[in-house]
Symmetry: C2
Subunit: 121 residues, 2 copies
């Protein structure tokens, strides 16, 4: 089973974390047959942590976990912190495939999304 | 003429600001006939500022400026700071229509974008 784990930074502002959780529920609703599990995790300031989020996907039966960084730029969090957390979990679970998708800011189609948002005004 | 102004937070990390500028150039390349001008501006830590960015669009001949907040959540920056800067410019230029599009995190289609990014792994 394939799981999608949306990884956000996490915020001191509860509403921002709730926005990520609500988006995750919408992703779940639209995932169709692609993902048996859709969840979110946070780098800091909110729960679950990335290791706990990955672990929960594996507990739910995932043999493949796709981590999608919900970040706008390729800063230290995207380039180092998330891969480091993934690496530890990958070593603990060699039979599970844990992959990191492009972060949001580098996702193909973001130009179309922004242009459409602007055109709707 | 209609202008699109992508508004990002701005970062101490030059590469993050450059990512926004590169995205803006890609938007410009894909804008087709929708926008006569595509530019970016930053809330803080990078140039141009939002007022300067709006002013440059108007100087270039825009009578409509669509501000697209490149933000993930509806925090203070999206809810208060950007609208406050826009309001000042709107008062200075009553004949120009300045509108704020949904911020990226609330843009319709973001679910599909994230699911596609995950499916490509």
């Amino acid at each position: 089973m394939k799981a999608l784990l949306l990884v956000a930074h996490g915020s001191r502002r509860t509403a921002s974390n709730e926005e990520v959780r609500a988006l995750t529920r919408r992703l779940e609703g639209q995932a169709g047959d692609s993902f048996g599990q859709v969840a979110c995790a946070f780098l800091e300031l909110a729960e679950p942590s990335i290791p706990d989020g990955i672990e929960a996907c594996i507990d739910a039966g995932a043999d493949q976990v796709i981590v999608v960084p919900y970040f706008l730029s390729a800063g230290r969090h995207v380039a180092e912190d998330i891969p480091a957390e993934v690496r530890i979990k990958q070593e603990q679970h060699p039979r599970v495939q844990i992959q990191i998708a492009p972060y949001l800011g580098a996702a193909s189609g973001i130009e179309t999304l922004l242009l459409d948002a602007a055109r709707e005004e």
